[in-house]
């Protein structure tokens, strides 16, 4: 391609996207090629497809619908502990599924706190199992993410806009029409797509809280094909269906997300003058309190369960914790190495293929990726020796879609606003990235890094397929404890995981915002 007037090069992003696509599609192909038997898709598989789509769509709609008022409230209000609250709200997202489910049941279960209250007041206890239970759990997992993604959009509005709005004395309606509606139009489809895609590959949550075979998702069908029938061809086919489904949703969302940025500001300290009326304050406070109760009570239950044994943790749990931290940091470095060039590439235009490659990570089944990697790696290396690097890599790819959702809007805005200036100054690509792009994306990079690290800490995907006796990450160790009946120790280890994940997320996220107003 001839030299174009661009402040950055798109090539590193294309290479990164190609690498990601090769990893995910390559492993799928490896599984498909290894197939021996095959019996095609059954009636039950189509039922699984239908249930998968319905529960994912409901979960996405509800998560985003609730996230909008919560994000708005958080964007308008400044209070002591706000940053901590925002970090804490992210916690459900990174917990191992079983820990989160047990925490949820402490609140919403048959003998949970809420049921106790209801029974004391003369009502029936809650019945959590069924489609509504699945959706409840998915909202618990994804409301924090959707809130952060939308909050992010609010924070990308330059401070000057609020200043002008205040000077012109915008009514709440004008404020909504001119500033908030456009930003929601840009942020919501992306958030919907991400949550929908996450819920598509749900399996243990859907099965456990769905109440049984009716709640069969594609991921369980993949599991069955692989484990129960050893039908690799069918596992690959179902995994392919899952990929196509996610890509369709993502493609649709990406088409809807296009739009202009809010123009450039002077990176001034953000102050808000709107939403000062009593009604607005009450409304915001209500949303913040409700969201905090919904998300923090189950976490509190996890803390209460784990606290008594936290101090007497077996040494193997601590060494697993160190392993997890190492994997999380490695994964974060890999993630930034992939995500930053890709975000820059997307920001330069011609985004489609790069963004789709990024979304692939959501749709891929960890079981299929793990199996595929195993097939590919075995002839050349000892898969068990590679357990940790492979886990870090797969975790990075799994976190990539979230990172891109976080990074792309900001990168696009920076490139859009600053490229003419940079070109007029004849800045080189490296100089532009170093002096203009990266400093202005610091908050987003910190958020993305924190999320990736925390997700990686809580992930139990590939390590379970590769681990030998000596190596374990913390989530795997929690499962081993539960498998050995040591529920108390498992609860303590789960609390440790929660604390570590929160700490690593908070440090990285906060690091990105150092000296910058959130």
């Amino acid at each position: 391609m001839a030299h174009r007037a661009q402040p950055l090069s798109a090539w590193p992003g294309r290479v990164a996207a190609l690498a990601v696509a090769a990893l995910i599609l390559g492993t799928l192909l490896a599984v498909a090629l290894r197939a021996e038997t095959g019996r095609g898709l059954s009636f039950a598989d189509w039922a699984a497809l239908r249930f998968t789509v319905v529960q994912a769509a409901l979960s996405a709609l509800l998560s985003v619908a609730l996230a909008v008022p919560v994000a708005r409230a958080l964007a308008r209000r400044r209070f002591v502990g706000r940053r901590l609250l925002i970090a804490l709200l992210g916690a459900p997202f990174i917990l191992p599924v079983i820990v989160a489910i047990l925490g949820l049941l402490q609140i919403f279960g048959r003998s949970g706190w809420l049921s106790d209250l209801l029974v004391a007041a003369g009502f029936q206890p809650l019945q959590i199992y069924g489609l509504h239970g699945v959706v409840l759990a998915h909202v618990f997992f994804n409301l924090p993410l959707a809130t952060r993604l939308i909050l992010q959009a609010w924070q990308e509005v330059p401070a000057e806009q609020y200043r002008i709005a205040a000077q012109l004395n915008f009514s709440p309606w004008t404020m909504f029409r001119l500033i908030e509606a456009p930003l929601l139009r840009r942020a919501c489809p992306g958030a919907l797509a991400v949550v929908f895609a996450i819920c598509l590959s749900s399996f243990a949550v859907a099965l456990t809280l769905g109440g049984g075979p009716r709640a069969t998702t594609l991921e369980l069908a993949i599991y069955q094909a692989f484990r129960f029938d050893f039908d690799l061809g069918r596992a690959a086919m179902l995994s392919g269906m899952q990929l196509v489904l996610t890509l369709c949703a993502a493609g649709l969302a990406l088409r809807l997300t296009r739009g202009d940025g809010f123009g450039t500001g002077l990176d001034r300290h953000l102050r808000r003058w709107d939403g000062g009326s009593i009604g607005a304050r009450l409304l915001d406070a209500t949303w913040i309190v409700l969201a905090a109760l919904f998300l923090l009570l189950p976490l509190l239950a996890i803390c209460i369960a784990g606290l008594p044994d936290l101090a007497r943790m077996p040494a193997s749990v601590l060494s697993a914790a160190l392993t997890s931290i190492a994997v999380a940091l490695g994964s974060t470095v890999l993630l930034l190495g992939l995500a930053l060039p890709m975000a820059a590439g997307v920001a330069l235009g011609r985004a489609g293929p790069i963004e789709l490659a990024g979304i692939l990570g959501l749709a891929a089944s960890p079981l299929v990726i793990g199996t595929g990697l195993f097939i590919l790696l075995r002839p050349v290396a000892d898969p068990f020796a590679l357990a940790l690097p492979v886990t870090a890599l797969v975790n990075a790819v799994m976190a990539l879609p979230f990172a891109l959702r976080i990074l792309i809007p900001r990168a696009r805005a920076v490139v859009h606003d600053m490229s003419r200036l940079a070109l007029s100054l004849d800045m080189g690509h490296v100089t532009f990235a170093r002096l203009v792009l990266l400093p202005r994306m610091r908050a987003q990079i910190g958020f993305a890094a924190g999320l990736a690290a925390a997700l990686s800490m809580g992930d139990l995907g590939v390590i379970a397929l590769f681990a030998d006796a000596e190596i374990a990450t913390l989530p795997l160790q929690i499962f081993r404890l539960m498998g050995a009946y040591r529920v108390q120790d498992a609860a303590a280890a789960a609390l440790l995981l929660l604390i570590l994940s929160m700490a690593i997320f908070w440090l990285l996220d906060r690091g990105g915002r150092y000296h910058a107003e959130a």
Partner: protein
């Protein structure tokens, strides 16, 4: 200087390791955990074999078999430990396993002879409940009662598959009727044993599908006598866990040595209080204190591996049909 000594020591250590032959055993994850039999078994075997025993944990029995099938005859494993009778037919059909030369007096409640698979422990599936409640006496009574249960999905878990076989063995063609009756007792179905047991301990259901030996854990390890297993009068289905050596093993002698060790007292004594199952051969020291409190089913149900494999798809279909309504 210190670095040199350290480097020399490291080098020495790796060569020493390289000289000892390595026996690789694939097993399920809970076997290798610090709280499972793995560490003690490894220490005891290495004390006698002059070798390095490498235990590799791969989720559960079904995952284990899938892994070996995936690797085929190029597998690094010399031995696989952790399949059960429901998986034996499929495992045998792969042709990857070699006959053994072990003979032992098994303490199984059924006759056992197999040329390839050596049993190392066994247990009965059972519904575990709080000792405070009076459990139903069989599946029919359970179906008629409003006792709630949590079970595991047979498509993703070994105990879940065991329950399918249990109902099939006890009721044959009537199994669909039993499942329809049970449908409203089942609070939920989980992916694996850990999830189900966790829900039970949280108070989500009155009973959970586990083993008759589960109360022994609470009694012995936690000094807690509050859990019991319900005795069902139609009998209890058994799980017999087995190991076999791979035909492709380059450590065939060592693998034989391990299988012989596996049925010796040194191995069998470790099993009851780490794997919480019955040893396949009662060691000279007998069973640990506390095991005498467990229920002993009057009838032991077990399909032959061939029957289990033949019935599997039909039983799954009946289960899915009954519970999808």
């Amino acid at each position: 200087m210190k670095h040199l000594i350290f480097a020399a020591g490291l080098l020495g250590a790796t060569t020493a390791l390289a000289e000892a032959p390595e026996l690789t055993v694939y097993t399920y994850d809970s076997f290798v955990s610090d709280w499972g039999p793995g560490p003690q078994v490894e220490a005891a075997f290495e004390a006698t074999c002059g070798c390095d025993l490498k235990l590799v944990g791969i989720e559960d029995g079904a995952a284990l078999l899938a892994r070996v099938r995936l690797e085929g005859d190029r597998t690094d494993a010399d031995l696989v430990l952790g399949l059960d009778t429901n998986l034996m037919k499929a495992a045998r059909d792969t042709g990857l396993f070699a006959p053994h030369a072990v003979s032992a007096e098994y303490a199984l409640p059924v006759n056992w002879s197999d040329d390839i698979f050596v049993p190392y422990d066994w247990g009965y599936f059972a519904f575990v409940h709080s000792a405070e409640i009076t459990p139903p006496a069989n599946f029919r009574a359970l179906a008629e009662s409003d006792t709630t249960i949590v079970i595991q999905d047979p498509r993703s878990s070994t105990p879940g598959l065991g329950l399918l076989m249990w109902v099939k063995a006890a009721y044959g063609d009537e199994a669909p009727v039993i499942w329809e009756g049970l449908a409203d007792n089942i609070v939920t179905v989980t992916k694996g044993w850990s999830e189900a047991y966790g829900l039970f301990l949280e108070g989500e259901a009155d009973m959970v599908l586990s083993y008759t030996t589960s109360p022994a854990y609470h009694l012995i390890a936690e000094d807690d006598a509050s859990k019991a297993a319900a005795a069902f009068d139609e009998g209890h289905y058994m799980q017999v866990e087995v190991a076999a050596k791979l035909a492709s093993s380059d450590q065939a002698e060592l693998a034989d040595q391990f299988l012989a060790f596996m049925v010796s007292d040194a191995f069998q004594e470790i099993i009851p209080t780490t794997n919480w199952m019955y040893p396949a051969i009662t060691p000279a020291s007998g069973l640990p204190d506390g095991f005498e409190t467990l229920i002993t089913p009057a009838t032991s149900l077990l399909f032959s591996p061939e029957d289990a494999a033949a019935l599997r798809d039909l039983a799954l279909d009946e289960w899915l049909t009954a519970l999808s309504r």
